[in-house]
Symmetry: C2
Subunit: 600 residues, 2 copies
């Protein structure tokens, strides 16, 4: 390291100068001397053609050894000014590889690298046509026989899936499929979305009517087209539905609604999928090269098999089918479950004057929305963050820069603070018998989301109803039996009921893959989601990244896109680039392909 | 002025310090001493509740005398850094009045003000709910009987115009009506648009199929929601149509398609309009307080009455009804006119192999698109401008800061340059017999647009066809007579024809007002558009602003919104604020109400 390194930016520049020298010369020892013993390198497809984190010097060295000749990293440049706080220098940088341009973030401690993030932003020669590179639109000059934009678009829509085949078929036209299709559209990769609902946005519209987003607006933007600046903090479901429909149209996505997938088979000889779909009653066979499952990381609704359920004379629904509370005014409802949907539905029922009981089977993490916004998300996704220069693009990268291995250590203090701040509510909930937790290690909501995708409620009001008894609570029990007009709990209590709602979550996406393709292929792909944290519902061994998400799986040409709006926005960028590279025939050797440890 | 004024920002700060002192103390002589003898103050509703320019010291002094006590201007603050070039200091500033906040721009010469622009940005206490002030969306907590966003929106749509009345009715649902309605929606003013076409965007979709915007994308954004950064430079008409339809939906505008206005009367006793409309065959009477005409500054299509027209055996259309060239392959067409539509249609016909003749009646200004973009618009509306910090918000204010009285002096050098740059094309056009002009004073396209709204073609290729004879040209003539299979020109030439297109423009909007309301009211409102420049089609006396546009007219409660996308975006802000003030009962004494000098 040079002697100039007194200012953080100079220090970071010096580090990258040395780093680049070492990499260019393939001097791995020199490169590794620049890393702290406690070090992490997270790469989003720029070095590894994978989404992977190398944890510790040995793993980093092995990755460099394998990839350096191919990647040819160079032209590392500090972006803006580096900053220093608590002995850690934060630096943004850009870089190039043989085939791509990238952007990254580093944290340096004592002149050594603690965390490094490298991400691909664009493939050289295949940049998006935006800004100064945008198309003209009107082709000036005169062109006999020219087609208008409308004619070309109509021709594409009429022929895609018939005379021409999509390169990528996306199954599932919710936010995940739509975000990815927008990326692929920009990159010029022929893509088709198939969706069982009639229109984009219907998967939101069809949910219970009181539903609003639980994440704030700054976290929820789709790629390329941010929400207007008067968009509500928590958008109502139908407004999001309309936005998705509009977005699909103006982004010119190819979207087949009312289309269900019947069967998918990979034809090894032709190296393409054969996918039979039912499009509005007409059977069509699609032959894409790549198949993306974008069904929201879940499988079928979990509906517990309870003795006597078929004898029930009232209505019973899984939460995903719950039509709304209006029809149950003055009646009695039992809601099984205690996560987000259960709470939302209990509140909606209570608001309509329904006598409502929540059945809590096991402990739940409650994160009051205000506290979550201020303590957990505010620094990255808020109006204040935007004002301080952290828009959602930058926030996504900061978010991505924290290795999963140590992410919980960033979160634990947040929830320690939340416990103090919301002590009154937590105390009253416990008094009412509610079983609380903050995750096994106190790391709270987001870690639960990553590890198991469940086990929490972002409190937007229903916890008060539980605490004050407006919504009745039975905790530590389950439903043992259902009678024509009541449910009997495992502690013997019998509750009269006109309505039962099973807010019991969803199974694994693999159920769905097993039916669509085959149980063997579903098993070859393995469990989806979770980090391997060896915490409840997230068995080890440690994976270091979300299983199978947005990266090559063990089933060639089969991909999984999904997550919340933030993840769909950010990771669709890397899914898009991976698929574009394959479309253009750019070699994409995958480093560190994850093994499958859990079948479903 | 203080002695510190060596840096432009210090000089501008010192000027505004002195200016504010003088205004606060109502010392008009002191204030006027700060202005150059050659001075202009353009105000967009912040001082005058009008869109008006005071030209020269006497006019400025009179305005201050009349308005100062009421406006109470204060808190002038320089925004960013002032700059100096060629002895002129450019400064941005913010300020407040008794009821509003504003933003402005000043040009100072030798320490005195040459041009001053003041604009209102928001009314105090009635700010738009955006950014940190945005609504929550989800109302946290529990609210028995709460309505969802969808229920409220559906209720509004079902009742508006029936149980409840819009405060503002906008007649015309093109870009002008839509932009204004979006502003009013944000400001919470109940508004309804009525439009004769079925859907938003149809007024674009229904035009000739080769139509693309003639202005580049940076100039064309709607309020609040910019086009994505891959939007084409020149958007095709159907893409704009889709965007307008989407925009109307996501902005939650109340829009009645397939609705025609039959009759409008102002009820003096009730101080409201009574407007009979036909909505999909059902007659509805609407009772708004304010009526906005947003029909694009034109009236009915001009179709010249030519002897024998009724005997013509081919097709004849006004350009607004021209369906496209496909059906005329191998046939003969005559296009009357030589402005934008005439050129576009001639090119489309030629591309389809139609034998096409353009009839040029009088001289036309040709501005090659590339040159126009680079020489005239590039500094304000281009990717380069955006990169240098001039986004369209800032560009709109810079554009607005040039007083109309001296605007031509800013434009003449641009067109001098264009004459040189495109000398080859111009030479070949003249050789082909085309009658060229650059406006009577050489000030080119935009001044022609402001003065008369016609007389030019933004060349996107058709001029080459005229120059090389692909499109035949007859200039300095008109059609004298139409026979069953031909047209006879005023010079005696007879041209065979299967198709005649009248690209002959539109009449005055007053024709339409005369029919809808009454000829008397149309005359009371007077001529719309034009500056009073005493140039062809824009008779004097000098008005200094566009007649009747976006400001109070001589008919109380009757307003005109329109223009190109840039104007609709920018001036809708001021229309919105004027209407909001009236809706909230804020006094809006209009200073300098323009007189009517020309009836139609």
């Amino acid at each position: 390291m040079t002697e100039l390194a007194s200012h953080p930016t100079q220090a970071a520049s010096a580090w990258f100068f040395d780093f680049e020298q070492a990499l260019r010369a393939h001097k791995l020892e020199a490169a590794m001397a620049l890393f702290d013993a406690d070090c992490y390198w997270r790469d989003l497809v720029s070095f590894t053609w994978n989404i992977s984190t190398q944890e510790g010097p040995a793993a980093i060295k092995a990755m460099l050894q394998a990839r350096l000749a191919d990647v040819q990293p160079h032209n590392f440049q500090i972006e803006g000014q580096a900053t220093e706080a608590d002995g850690v220098i934060d630096a943004w940088f850009t870089f190039e590889t043989a085939v791509a341009r990238g952007r990254g973030h580093a944290r340096l401690k004592n002149g050594k690298c603690w965390t490094l993030l490298t991400t691909m932003t664009e493939l050289k020669g295949y940049e998006e046509k935006k800004g100064a590179q945008r198309i003209k639109g009107a082709e000036h000059g005169v062109h006999p026989g020219r087609k208008t934009w409308l004619e070309e678009r109509q021709h594409e829509q009429a022929t895609l899936g018939f005379e021409t085949q999509p390169y990528v078929l996306i199954v599932g036209g919710g936010q995940g499929g739509i975000a990815l299709a927008a990326r692929l559209r920009r990159l010029g990769v022929p893509t088709l979305i198939v969706e069982k609902n009639e229109k984009p946005g219907d998967s939101w519209r069809k949910r219970y009517k009181s539903l609003c987003l639980h994440d704030p607006v700054w976290y929820d933007h789709l790629p390329y087209m941010p929400f207007p600046d008067d968009w509500p903090v928590f958008a109502p479901k139908d407004k999001i539905g309309d936005w998705l429909e509009m977005y699909t149209k103006v982004m010119e996505l190819n979207y087949w609604g009312s289309t269900t997938c019947k069967k998918a088979t990979f034809n090894e000889a032709r190296q393409e999928w054969e996918i039979t779909v039912d499009r509005e009653g007409r059977e069509v066979t699609l032959r894409p090269k790549e198949l993306v499952i974008a069904l929201g990381v879940s499988g079928y609704p979990n509906v517990p098999k309870v003795p006597g359920a078929e004898s029930f004379e009232g209505d019973q629904f899984h939460s995903s089918k719950f039509p709304g509370a209006e029809n149950y005014r003055g009646k009695k409802a039992v809601v099984l479950g205690s996560n987000n949907s259960a709470h939302d539905i209990c509140a909606a029922l209570w608001e309509e004057g329904v006598d409502t009981t929540m059945i809590q089977r096991s402990s739940t993490h409650i994160a009051p929305s205000e506290s979550l916004m201020e303590l957990a998300l505010g620094g990255l996704y808020s109006e204040a963050a935007v004002k301080s220069g952290i828009d959602h693009h930058k926030a996504d990268l900061i978010f991505a820069s924290v290795p999963y291995k140590i992410m919980h250590t960033f979160h634990i203090p947040v929830y320690e603070e939340m416990k103090k701040r919301d002590a009154d509510l937590y105390g009253r909930l416990e008094k009412a018998g509610f079983l609380l937790d903050f995750g096994v290690d106190g790391s709270g909501l987001f870690m639960k989301y990553l590890r198991r995708g469940s086990g929490y409620y972002i409190d937007v009001g229903a916890s008060e109803l539980v605490a004050n008894g407006s919504v009745k609570l039975k905790s530590g029990v389950n439903i043992a039996q259902i009678k024509p007009k009541s449910v009997v709990l495992t502690d013997g209590t019998e509750l009269e009921a006109d309505l039962i709602v099973y807010a019991t979550g969803y199974g694994s996406m693999n159920q769905w893959l097993a039916d669509l393709i085959s149980p063997e292929v579903a098993d070859r792909l393995g469990k989806v989601w979770g980090l391997g944290s060896d915490t409840p519902k997230d068995p080890g061994p440690w994976e270091g990244e979300l299983r199978n998400m947005w990266k090559p799986t063990n089933v060639p040409h089969l991909w999984v896109q999904g997550g919340n709006l933030h993840q769909n926005r950010h990771y669709s960028q890397f899914m898009g680039l991976q698929l574009k590279a394959r479309y253009e025939g750019i070699p994409t050797p995958v480093y560190g392909q994850a093994q499958v440890h859990h079948l479903r």
